[in-house]
Amino acid sequence: MGNQVSLFVTCMVDQLFPKVGIAMADVLERLGYRVDFPEQQTCCGQPAYNSGYRAEARTVARHFLKTFQASETIVVPSGSCTAMVTHHFADLFQKEPETLALVHAMEKKVYEFATFLTEVACVEDVGARMEDVVTFHDGCHALRELGIKSAPRRLLAHVKGLELREMAPAEECCGFGGTFAVKFAELSGAMARTKIDAILGTGAHTVVSLDPSCLMQIQGALSRAGLNLRTMHLAEVLASR
């Protein structure tokens, strides 16, 4: 595998948290990768898929496949969007063998950011430094669909000055769930507040995750509760020095 990687920053990072994408590119470049950004990219289609609109999701998925067809390796700052491509695109194209073949080829090229670092780049120490006490929130799709548990923790363990405190339980959902967050707003808010209790229990000042959507939910609820804690994407932590 060459040292060229393409970024799929996700629509959420593109529109709301651009610094996460920049941080991810910085870390990759420091490790010697040449980074490109296919300009045609938009979204993975998950919002439509999770809302039951499969035809619309299929349209967006096709666009994704076309956009990244030429890329060798694609790195994504989100477990959820990665899982959409690697675990759900295939469901959408069961009846289209040709597209399905493209999907299976794509599944092998798409990596969630932390997994890319530990498994492809084979690094755990990216030379980051951040003086802080943090806790790590496992995004549900990263954890349960992609099986990501130790990679982000190994990366955080090598950040100088950083102390990681685990919450009990780190695996419980923050309550985001895409359109669930607005369709069942009150319930979603209650789930976020339970998550926040767990976060406060650690005494950490910063919540780190590898999913921007969880961070938006958690930061939104922290801010609403008037709590002075911050959230950071793993890429932002690893880009600090």
């Binding site: 709301l16 950004f37 289609g45 035809a55 009150e186």
Partner: protein
């Protein structure tokens, strides 16, 4: 979403005592399950799940074959198998038998299947007395409620609640000590067992090769229910059949551990037919009612029929962050939690409560703990698609449909996407980098309003990633 569903969720969330009761009780069950399925306690846990899934898949794929084998074997032991297609057929069968035998009093052991067909209500409507003998079920019956949880029906009741119910319904002196409350129930129920004409149980497993009904319980009441009265009727969904007695080696290892964190339940009974000559106990008549009630509708769909693998352990409820907030009674049918969310729309039709498959953050905790490895999130996603198809046929929810068509169009036209993003960004209130607490009234509608009802909104960045990238 129906107003009723919405209201029940809201009321449950607003009740602080109830919130604590649900969270504590499910938390305890969940922690115990984790403890006894840990690597050092049950090293072959994942292997057992894989085997259980394969056994269930095989049984459901060959359901007709195993049901016939089961029936043959039950009849060889002198029992009788009765097929019922719905609730009415079950109650008609029981009522007819009761009439012919002159029966008046029925004792029941815990069974979600009989709850599903409202059997108690139907029998009582015809003048029979039908008494639940599992302590939790008895409490719920006295309170005129439905089970809150498929394993722990009275999970939401504190001992003070139980004390109130007993005082009111049984006219006894108020007691709040759990042991004493249990003694009160025991006293009443012993009498019922001695007088009962018919005992009705559910079934955890139906074993095809031995024609046996297997019951798993902790209180011993199912033993009494099935042996004290002259007639025993087991009511079971057709999906409960498994091929061989030896398959229990897999299922019994998983069931109690997943349900309550026990290694094995206190009593496991094998009931194969009525009392034989020379035997000292057991009923004189033995019936197995095999219920369809919508189950066969699931068979044609290769993926969704995995919903029939369920062994009703309740682990998915305890693991579910949604169940742990909204509890059992918010759900539109007797089956609650993740399993309820996938079987209710399939048994009752998706329009029964179209919002149900959407009441999930798709966190996947249910699928992770399910001992028979039902991919619940996958089935939820399939049901969501079914709901949208049904809405499209009925011409409902047109605005949402249009919104997603626009979404797909924008997301396949990167220039438009960028422009739309810039427009939205310029309209968003300046937050000076701070998170936004509220937006002007005209903007506070739909999803925006819903989001802001609970959380702050991220400030819109001055440039999108792609703009920053170009200028980098």
């Amino acid at each position: 979403m129906s107003a009723e569903f919405d209201l029940k969720i809201h009321d449950t969330l607003a009740d602080a005592n109830l919130q604590l009761a649900i969270y504590t009780a499910t938390g305890r069950l969940k922690d115990k399950r984790i403890e006894v399925t840990a690597d050092d306690r049950l090293p072959d846990y994942q292997e057992l799940r894989t085997q259980a899934n394969a056994l269930k898949k095989h049984a459901i794929d060959n359901l007709d074959h195993y049901l016939e084998e089961f029936e043959r074997n039950v009849e060889a032991h002198g029992g009788k198998v009765v097929y019922c297609k719905d609730a009415t057929e079950v109650s008609d069968f029981v009522l007819d038998l009761a009439r012919r035998r002159g029966a008046r009093l029925i004792v029941k052991s815990k069974s979600m299947t009989t709850e599903e067909v409202d059997l108690n209500e139907r029998l009582e409507h015809h003048g029979l007395e039908s008494v639940e003998t599992d302590l939790g079920e008895y409490i719920i019956q006295l309170a005129h409620e439905k089970p809150y949880h498929i394993v722990a029906p009275a999970l939401h009741k504190t001992r003070y609640d139980v004390a109130d119910i007993f005082t009111k319904e049984l006219h006894v002196a108020r007691e709040t000590v759990p042991e004493k409350l249990t003694l009160i129930a025991r006293g009443v129920l012993r009498e019922k067992f001695l007088k009962a004409d018919i005992g009705i149980s559910g079934a955890n497993f139906l074993i095809a090769d031995s024609g046996a009904v297997v019951l798993v319980e902790n209180e011993g009441n199912a033993r009494l229910t099935t042996s004290a009265p002259k007639i025993h009727i087991a009511v079971a969904g057709i999906e409960k059949v498994i091929p061989r007695a030896q398959d229990l080696a897999v299922f019994l290892k998983l069931l109690a551990r997943s349900a309550t964190g026990q290694l094995l339940s206190v009593y496991t009974s094998f009931l194969a037919g009525p009392r034989r000559t020379g035997e000292v106990d057991g009923p004189e008549e033995f019936y197995v009612v095999l219920l369809d009630n919508g189950r066969t509708k699931l068979l044609p769909d290769r993926s969704k029929r995995q919903s029939l693998y369920c062994i009703r352990c309740g682990a998915c409820l305890n693991a579910c962050p949604v169940y742990r907030k909204i509890g059992g009674h918010s759900f539109p049918w007797v089956y609650s939690g993740p399993i309820g969310a996938i079987i209710t729309p399939q048994f009752m039709g998706v329009s029964h409560e179209p919002a149900l498959p959407f009441a999930s953050s798709l966190c996947g905790a249910c699928g992770e703990v399910c001992p028979v490895k039902i991919d619940i999130p996958k089935v939820l996603l399939e049901l969501r698609s079914d709901v949208k198809k049904s809405e499209a046929r009925e011409g409902q929810n047109r605005i949402e449909k249009l919104a997603f068509r626009v979404f797909a169009w924008v997301m396949t036209h990167p220039r438009i996407y960028e422009l739309a993003g810039r427009m939205a960004g310029s309209m968003a209130p300046a937050g000076d980098g701070k998170w936004i607490h509220s937006v002007p009234a005209p903007m506070s509608v739909g999803p925006m309003k819903a989001w802001l009802s609970q959380r702050d909104l991220p400030p819109s960045p001055s440039r999108s990633f792609r703009e920053m990238w170009r200028q980098r």
